[in-house]
């Protein structure tokens, strides 16, 4: 019914060089005993940093699903980040997150990943 963020989204390693499999973690709980949530990670379209799936496809958005309960729970999503077409030379990149609960309420989050050249 509603998702509560107990611990903000974090990325590890951070700073990082690319390509790298980044672990996104945060602690959540729900106002329900058990609630299915959908989590979208997205990157701005203009720059050259992308997500990459297991088949090597470059994407600007990744969607993951999870279930959270009423007790605080650490969720972990591992996503490979790499470089591709687009504006290069970033020092920091903002990874935006949208958490959608079972009733369609969207809770925002973000983490800034520092890129080492």
């Amino acid at each position: 019914m509603a998702i509560f963020v107990d611990q903000d989204l974090a990325a590890s390693p951070n700073p990082t060089d690319l390509p790298k499999r980044i672990e996104f973690t945060q602690t959540l709980h729900s106002s329900l005993a058990s609630e299915a949530i959908t989590c979208q990670y997205s990157l701005a379209a203009a720059h050259n940093i992308w997500f990459e799936d297991n088949d090597g496809n470059l994407m600007k958005t990744v969607v993951r699903e999870d279930t959270v309960g009423s007790a605080p729970q650490v969720t972990v999503d591992r996503i490979t980040m790499t470089t591709g077409p687009g504006m290069a030379g970033l020092l920091t990149v903002e990874v935006a997150q949208s958490l959608r609960d079972s009733e369609g309420n969207v809770t925002p989050g973000l983490v800034i990943v520092q890129i080492q050249s």
């Binding site: 700073p15 106002s31 970033l90 020092l91 309420n105 969207v106 809770t107 925002p108 800034i112 520092q114």
Partner: protein
């Protein structure tokens, strides 16, 4: 006090004054040879004690303000044709195009004076000097600065709206923050170097770690909660806080205007008045319903803003709001969400067989159907509770982000410190007045000249005119090689022989001196050492016309070679030598 004790007291006070005078060192021109050309800078007047010497090492002495821990001087120069340099007196920023400061000379003062050795100055230049006197800021100044620094960072950081930045953009943010900090502290203060606000390119990664991923990240999280975020997929679009509040307000207003709910609340109130058990039961199921519905309910608009009946209306939330405001809103939203759930339970109780007969009788079938629709799962009340809970979650998260941002900014401000520095400008030049210029350009020497054609060796005195200022106190060997010092060595010579070059006319001689017993020497000379010169040129004298029939004299010349000493050096020699050269001591 006795007369004797009064005398002792006077003596004691006088001693104190004397001691204070002895302790207070002053800049004075040294009497002996220090190896430097000393000039004194007077900060109050922004003047030097003399025209600046050139070609010799210059040492500047200045009295410094009390408490000065570091004193600096730097200078810039222009050619005399360009005139004085335009400098901002508050910041020592040079406004004249193409002119830049030279290296800075820094010294720790000794007592209340400081001396800098600044090397050699060029002749015929305008100079501008920037003196900096730094002292440690007082505890009060530092405390005030940290307070203002936190405010400056708070305001300036709001200008940044993204965490996706390249190195140049990150450095620009750093420089922007630094400029704001300096503006807040005033032009006479400098930030203590060594912090991330040096904004050096090699420190930009540290700035990103400490600021971009610190308070800026917290601010961006707060901004997205407040302003929302569009998304190509509408399922993941983030509504703004205002949109969410409007949605909640609509739901609340609809509930407060719902006739079936109004009928239920009236029925419960009537039955509660008649039966204390009904009142207790209704109160236990929904203790907050009176705030949500009925005549004593908080208006929907206020509840939607996260304000209860007792709250003072707050200003709209921004990233600079107090975290406590968002925390208070979060509590109200959480209570509202609970009230929605409790209302659903109250409706279920009223529709159940356990409901008191009076309440059941007050509701018709249409009311029952409408109320049943409200409490279905998922249904409108559950959705309303979800929205209120989401607002409670978001405002709680907002509280955390605003707190993290404030703490991050305060930590940055605590890292910063300041040093008070006063800047002082002084214009000066190596251009003297007319007399000085004459001294610069002209020298006197004395020596012997040999005219081979005339078979004469005679003493002479000459005036040497250089084509540039020459400081005779500057040893030639310290100024470079022969080629580099040629202009300081070469001069035109005008001289007079000091004894006659005439041959005995009674013995058939034909040459006579130009003036009485002296002839004119025109030529050029070259200093081979600081005091010794070799010269050559022509001696101008009079000669009888070769024709025995013509009784006239004509001007004639003959070349000469000369060897001379600088007149100052000559004066060091014995009086007998001067007498031999025919030079009086007064010359």
């Amino acid at each position: 006090m006795t007369k004797r004790s009064g005398l002792v007291c006077l003596w004691w006070i006088a001693s104190l004054f004397l001691a204070a005078g002895a302790l207070r060192a002053q800049c004075t021109t040294p009497s002996g040879d220090t190896g430097f050309n000393d000039v004194i800078f007077t900060p109050t007047g922004g003047t030097f004690s003399t025209v600046l010497p050139f070609d010799v090492p210059v040492r500047i002495c200045a009295e410094v303000p009390a408490g000065t821990t570091r004193a600096t001087v730097k200078y810039a120069a222009t050619d005399r044709k360009l005139g004085p340099i335009d400098v901002d007196p508050d910041t020592c920023t040079i406004r004249t195009p193409g002119i830049a400061w030279g290296p800075e000379f820094a010294r720790v003062p000794s007592g209340n004076t400081v001396r800098w050795v600044i090397g050699r100055l060029e002749a015929e230049r305008y100079y501008v000097f920037c003196f900096g006197f730094e002292k440690k800021a007082t505890d009060e100044e530092i405390a005030a600065f940290r307070q203002s620094a936190a405010k400056v960072l708070d305001d300036a950081l709001t200008q940044t709206t993204t965490g996706t930045l390249n190195a140049d953009q990150t450095q620009a943010i750093c420089q922007g923050l630094r400029a704001e900090l300096l503006a807040a502290t005033g032009a006479t203060k400098v930030l203590t170097p060594g912090t991330i606000f040096d904004c050096d390119a090699d420190k930009v990664a540290a700035f990103a770690t400490e600021v971009t991923r610190g308070p800026l990240q917290a601010q961006l999280r707060a901004q997205v909660i407040l302003a929302g975020r569009p998304n190509d997929d509408p399922n993941f679009a983030v509504p703004s806080l205002g949109q969410r509040q409007n949605d909640l307000q609509s739901i609340l207003a609809a509930l407060q205007a719902d006739p079936s709910i109004a009928k239920l609340i009236d029925a419960i109130a009537q039955q509660s008045a008649l039966d204390a058990a009904v009142s207790a039961r209704a109160q236990s199921i929904c203790p907050g319903c009176s705030a949500l519905l009925g005549p004593g309910a908080t208006p929907a608009a206020r509840l939607a803003l996260g304000e209860d009946a007792t709250s003072t209306p707050g200003a709209p939330l921004t990233v600079q709001s107090q975290p406590s405001q968002a925390a208070a809103m979060s509590q109200v939203y959480a209570v509202t969400a609970k009230n929605f759930n409790d209302l659903a339970n109250l409706i279920r109780w009223a529709l159940s067989p356990d409901a008191p007969p009076g309440i059941a009788a007050a509701l018709n079938d249409a009311d029952r159907a409408a109320l049943s629709a409200l409490v279905t799962t998922p249904g409108p009340l559950a959705a309303a509770a979800g929205k209120a809970n989401t607002l409670a979650s978001l405002t709680q998260n907002l509280t955390n982000q605003l707190t993290a941002r404030t703490q991050g900014i305060q930590a940055l401000a605590n890292e910063l410190s300041i040093a008070a520095a006063s800047l002082q400008l002084a214009d000066a030049s190596t251009l003297g007045n007319f007399v000085t210029n004459q001294k610069n350009y002209i020298s006197l020497d004395a020596g012997l000249t040999w005219a081979p054609e005339l078979e004469e060796v005679v003493p002479y005195m000459g005036t040497n005119i250089y084509f540039r200022p020459v400081n005779r106190n500057a040893p030639l060997r310290t100024l470079g090689n022969f080629r580099q010092t040629f202009s300081r060595r070469f001069s035109m010579t005008f001289g007079l022989t000091l004894s006659s070059i005439a041959d005995e006319t009674s013995n058939g001689g034909t040459q006579n001196d130009l003036f009485g017993n002296q002839s004119l020497m025109l030529g050029a000379g070259l200093r081979v050492t600081d005091s010794m010169r070799l010269g050559a040129g022509a001696i101008v004298f009079k000669e009888d016309d070769p024709s025995p029939l013509v009784n006239e004299q004509k001007l004639n010349t003959s070349y000469y070679l000369a060897f001379s000493f600088d007149i100052d050096v000559v004066s060091l020699f014995s009086k007998s030598f001067q007498t031999a050269l025919g030079v009086s001591s007064s010359q």
